[in-house]
Amino acid sequence: MRNLAALVRRELGVYFVSPMAYIILTGLILVFGLMFWTEMGAASDFAMPFSFDRLLATLAAILVFVAPLITMRLIAEEKNRGTIETLMTAPVTDGQVVVAKFAAALLFLMYLLLPTVAHAFLAAKYGTVDAPATATGYLGLILMCSAVFSIGLFISSLCSSQVTAGVVTFVVSFLLILSSLIADRVPADTWYGRPARAVLERIDPFKYLEDFLRGIIDTRPVIYLLSVTVFFIFLTVRVLESRRWR
């Protein structure tokens, strides 16, 4: 556990030393702030209670584009710099390395989300905010991002170039978001139509977010998103292990 904590600290340090973290943070708060201001104005104009769900949905869409930036360097950079060999020979297991990198990415995400909580307090000052529903929305966002991050981590472990890892992660994330739309285009009357549609509709992480944003915790998306996360972490560990066999 101590090893894991040390690895997480090391990874977090890397994030906060690079200017990328602050560029992402400032950009994200600025875009979120603009949306927040517009939404507050619209809620007031239409005499509606202010709701965070639409803001969080847009934030989720932005985070899908931000995710490759966060995950692309996780393992690809170590390979590129040759530090992966040092890490592999250190007294830590492959699993610990992968989990530490994943945990650091997730903690960094939470750090990015932290300023948006200030907006919730601002909204509560002027109106009413459904705090438990908003918290559930954040939970959904973290679960969705953890699934996307685990995919990004896996892709990063396969690539030795950060840019390649980032581009591939972006394409995969984008395809996942589009999977529901693609499902609608699959002809339902063919032999493969129905199962293909079912699978494509199933894998869209964005679809699962809807429930969370509305303040509902459904066990199905929780299990699905956790399964995706665990599976890709498992695959990443296998990829790191495979370096020893080759």
Partner: protein, 507 residues
């Protein structure tokens, strides 16, 4: 000295390859098993899932009654939602967007219970528009359109305006009572049940024919009632039948010109005493005084006078056209505030309760310039004579009577609505350039709906909700503060943190 052992000996290479192959096979198999395990977990979780409503006001909690109804759906139910119109409707009623939002949430949650219930947002130019135009008389915004296809031929349908689903504060936008769950569930129950509501219209007394598409027919009204409440109109010859059928939800008597026979009156009386519902629209000053029918209606709590109400301001231009703006405080008249209704050729009708078990109220009153002419002669000048009622003459009344032994125990009251004129119900006065005038038709439909009362009965177990989340009201100053904090203040924090990190790193 022993020679060094070569590691690329063929047998060692083969061994290493075999080992590597085994390791790869092991990794692939493990991954496949793990994937299989996760898929199994997901399949099980799909079958046995739970939903927790985390909202402070339990916005998503569906009552057991509603859940049972939706879970037990045997037919596919499609609810088309027309978009919220940002325009006069919203400026007049600021609670509409809030209510629309809550209704959307409710429909979303209901559709999650059973895939047989589908919610489809209406979009112009798409299949949804085609379907709606094929199945409904007219399309209006801010409505829910229910469509239940039971077989290829038959489709039950219903329109439900959003404003019917709640009581709200038009100024602040606050929702005071939210009835959407009970109303939507009632509509689903009504549409999926095999029995449509049946309105029997009487024949044999020179009545106007409701299904007729002519100007004096009421096809627009019957069609609208079909849209709204899945109502079927059926003829009833009381002279032959001698009793009102047991499946009658309502008996409609549309402008009779000849009196009813005593056995027919007895049949109506028997129906009334069992908790019957009657809608009578008379024609004023018919040659036949129709004493028996008038006496029977009098027993039920409303008095029809033998006169015609005229507007003195319109002496030369059809004085029989009355613009009604005074409506009695009654459920039928909901939404008629500051709205006018045109009543044509109407006699006066007064509420006249006969016993403490009866309640009666005037539904519509002609204005202060109207009077009840009792001796209208062709060519004679219209003039108010002494003894004739003048000002606020009642032209429609509703009566209710508590019934001790109702035929249907869930309907313990008999209900009656009497209109002094039938013309306002006809196609001629409910169209605008040949298309249905939904505003007047919907007001008339309210009368039928109150009389039939089915929705209220179905919805009883589901309680209305109220919301603690108040609509947001920002002053220009507070908007400005929010703008500065969210667009300048907080992003600046990110910049400051970045500069600090850069500074300390350099140090």
């Amino acid at each position: 000295m022993e020679p060094t052992k070569r590691t690329d000996a063929p047998e060692e290479v083969a061994f290493t390859r075999r080992r590597r192959l085994l390791i790869w096979a092991n990794a692939v198999l493990m991954s496949a098993f793990f994937l299989g395990f996760l898929v199994a977990v997901n399949v099980i979780s799909d079958a046995r899932f739970t939903r927790f409503d985390m909202t402070a006001e339990k916005l998503w909690e569906i009552s057991d009654h509603a859940r049972k109804v939706v879970e037990g759906l045997k037919h596919d139910v499609v609810i088309y939602t027309t978009p919220l119109t940002v325009g006069p409707a919203v400026s007049q009623n600021r609670s509409l967007p809030n209510a629309w939002n809550q209704v959307s949430r409710l429909l979303f949650e209901l559709s999650a219970i059973n895939p047989r219930l589908n919610v489809v947002p209406f979009a112009a130019g798409t299949e949804s528009e085609q379907v709606l135009r094929m199945n409904f008389t007219g399309l209006t915004d801010n409505c829910l359109y229910f469509l239940v296809k039971k077989d290829r031929e038959q489709a039950a349908r219903k329109v439900m305006p959003i404003y019917e689903l709640y009581e709200g504060n038009f100024q602040t936008g606050e929702i005071l009572k939210f009835h959407a769950e009970s109303k939507v569930i009632s509509a689903i129950v009504q549409l999926t049940s095999d029995r449509p509501r049946k309105v029997y219209y009487t024949e044999g007394h020179k009545e106007l024919p409701p299904p007729s598409q002519e100007g004096r027919g009421m096809s627009f009204l019957t069609s609208r009632l079909g849209d709204l409440d899945h109502v079927e109109f059926k003829p009833l010859d009381l002279g032959q039948a001698r009793s009102v059928p047991r499946d009658a939800d309502l008996v409609f008597i549309a402008g009779p010109a000849r009196d009813f026979d005593p056995p027919e009156i007895d049949a109506l009386r028997e129906y009334w005493n069992g908790g019957g519902r009657i809608f009578l629209a008379v024609q004023p000053l018919t040659p036949d005084p129709m004493k028996l029918l008038r006496d029977f209606i009098d027993e039920c709590g409303a008095r029809i006078h033998r006169d015609i109400v005229l507007d003195t301001r319109r002496e030369l231009q059809a004085p029989q056209y009355l613009r009604i703006t005074a409506f009695g405080y009654h459920m039928i008249n909901q939404g008629m505030l500051n709205v006018g209704f045109r009543m044509v050729s109407s006699g006066s009708v007064d509420p006249a309760p006969k016993s403490p078990r009866q309640k009666a109220i005037s539904l519509m009153q002609a204005g202060q310039w109207a009077y009840a002419e009792t001796d209208l002669r062709p060519g004679a000048r219209i003039q108010h004579d002494t003894g004739e009622k003048m000002g606020d003459v009642s032209v429609a009344a509703a009566a209710e009577e508590e019934i001790s032994n109702p035929t249907d125990p869930s309907r313990p009251t008999a209900r009656l609505v009497v209109w002094g004129g039938v013309a306002a119900l006809t196609n001629q006065f409910n169209t605008i350039y040949g298309t249905a005038n939904l505003e007047t038709l919907d007001y008339i439909a309210n009368t039928f709906r109150w009389l039939m009362e089915v929705e209220q009965r179905i919805a009883d177990p589901i309680q209305p909700r109220s919301f603690k989340m108040k609509p947001l009201k920002l002053t220009p100053e507070s908007k400005s503060v929010i703008g500065w904090v969210s667009i300048v203040g907080l992003p600046l924090l990110g910049v400051v943190l970045g500069v600090m990190a850069w500074f300390f790193r350099r140090k």
